[in-house]
């Protein structure tokens, strides 16, 4: 199914009238479903559906050496695959620029907000720490992969239980508490035809070059990423941060 120019024009025409093709308000998300425990071998997992976009995130624990400069901290790794299943435009192979950007933005949202209790993940200082590996698997791509992925990743982490450990052997039937300190939520705000909007569908993403992904915790703004080829004035950015604050507060209620 190809997104035609006609669809693109209709989308822009609607937005000019502060309307959207699917009848939503400009600052309204599509229907959101969040399901947990979807990957039975993962220590935590979540499937997030936003409209027709579907993303699964799974958390696995492993054991590794700490980084030399943080000998008493566990490690976080976030990876995203844009598998060929999710879109006729995706190809098999190592992550491209899009998938790399997505995983790094999700990673920073979690890392910079200090959500993950990295010190609790130390097993033996300088020798052995837990590695928390979050894999994001895009299943169906109908726009706004970024917000869906960030939501799935943090929900999977919230659900995760830390396994036990016997020497070097990971005991996956044990479940130890593992609580996030904060809940970072991403909201991408775009500007099209002088209007701000959130949760862009695929066709809406095709017609904008100006988006900012804003990640908020309850305690503050923790990460920003302007995306696409456009630009913003400072005042526009401030307005975008404010919009994202409100929307992430709404999204937070869905997972807390």
């Amino acid at each position: 199914m190809d997104i035609t120019e006609i669809e693109q024009r209709s989308a822009v025409d609607k937005i000019k009238k502060s309307e959207r093709l699917d009848g939503r308000e400009l600052l309204e998300f599509r229907n959101i479903e969040i399901e947990t425990g979807v990957a039975k071998k993962a220590e935590g997992s979540a499937k997030v559906t936003i409209g027709d976009t579907k993303v699964i995130a799974g958390v696995k624990f492993g054991v590794g050496h700490p980084f030399p400069d943080t000998p008493d901290e566990g490690m976080l790794m976030v990876n995203a695959e844009f598998g060929p299943m999710a879109s006729p435009d995706f190809e098999s192979g190592p992550p491209g620029k899009e998938a790399t950007e997505l995983s790094r933005v999700v990673d920073r949202g979690i890392r910079e907000s200090e959500s993950l209790p990295l010190q609790d993940l130390c097993i033996e200082e300088g020798e052995k720490v837990w590695k928390v590996m979050v894999d994001i698997h895009i299943v169906d791509h109908d726009g706004n992969l970024m917000d869906a992925s960030a939501l799935a990743a943090v929900k999977a982490l919230m659900e995760a239980k830390k396994p036990g450990l016997d020497g070097d052997e990971v005991l996956r039937d044990e479940e130890h508490d593992f609580d996030l300190k904060r809940v970072p939520i991403a909201c991408t705000v775009a500007k099209i035809a002088e209007n701000y909007l959130v949760d862009l569908s695929l066709v809406e993403e095709e017609v904008t070059d100006s988006m900012v992904t804003v990640t908020w915790t309850k305690d503050g703004l923790c990460s920003l990423q302007k995306r696409g080829n456009g630009g913003f004035k400072k005042d526009e950015l401030i307005e975008i941060f404010q919009i994202a604050k409100e929307k992430t507060d709404e999204l937070r209620k869905l997972i807390e």
Partner: protein
């Protein structure tokens, strides 16, 4: 089939560790049409093993020099998601995954009227979300649903399941612990309408009589799988 030592009985008074009898399948779940962007899609779960599949095509095959003038080809990708197994799997194709992709093509191609799509490709992507033995069969079952859901003209549904041997006894549909401690693993795929076996792999020590017995078990399993697949497809109409 790993050569693991197993220290508990897998079979006791004709019952298996999860209470199943010798010829019982795990509980199954099947769905069709679960994805929007793909031309066809399917989901299959057998116990704790589950997979989703998506079909794109028939579409143009690149690079061109791989095109066949007389017929289309089916290309299968089988992949374990990183979180589908105990120790995180590194993304990217493994040797095992490559082989399963190939035998999946062998299992499904003969059931598709490929001659109707000269030079084209049908691409089937199978992703295992959770792996507790029998992943290739579960992936194939999802894949076959996805092909039908995509409206690809087919001679029949392909249905897959494994038989095996535990504690010297042929049984149907090994689950995780049984697979680890088992003696033989025999995954097959079959066109349940014709009884033609299109995937056959076997690991472990056995003989011809035992093979006969295990094949019988597996074929009956495939018939039950086929019913479940058809139910799922009916629901989408």
């Amino acid at each position: 089939m790993k050569t693991m030592k197993y220290d508990k009985e897998l079979l006791k008074d004709g019952k298996r560790i999860d209470g199943r009898g010798i010829d019982d399948l795990r509980d199954m779940e099947a769905k069709a049409g679960i994805l929007k962007r793909a031309d066809g899609s399917g989901y299959f779960r057998m116990g704790k093993t589950e997979a989703i599949a998506a079909v794109f095509g028939p579409r143009e095959l690149h690079p061109q020099h791989k095109q066949k003038p007389q017929r289309g080809i089916l290309q299968c990708r089988y992949n374990l998601t990183p979180f589908s197994v105990d120790d995180r799997k590194r993304p990217g194709p493994s040797r095992r995954g490559k082989e399963i992709g190939k035998v999946s093509e062998g299992a499904l191609s003969s059931s598709i009227f490929l001659e109707e799509f000269p030079t084209a490709t049908i691409d089937l992507y199978m992703e295992v979300i959770s792996a507790d033995a029998g992943t290739r069969c579960v992936a194939l079952n999802a894949g076959s649903i996805a092909l039908a859901d995509a409206g690809v003209p087919m001679k029949g549904l392909i249905s897959a399941c494994a038989a095996g041997k535990i504690d010297d006894t042929p049984v149907l549909d090994l689950k995780g612990e049984e697979d680890m401690g088992g003696q033989v693993d025999l995954p097959i795929a079959m066109n349940a309408d014709t009884g033609e076996i299109t995937l056959l792999q076997m690991d472990g020590m056995t003989d011809i009589d035992e093979m006969d017995e295990m094949l019988e078990l597996a074929m009956k399993g495939c018939e039950k799988v086929a019913e479940k697949q058809k139910e799922a497809l009916m629901e989408t109409f």
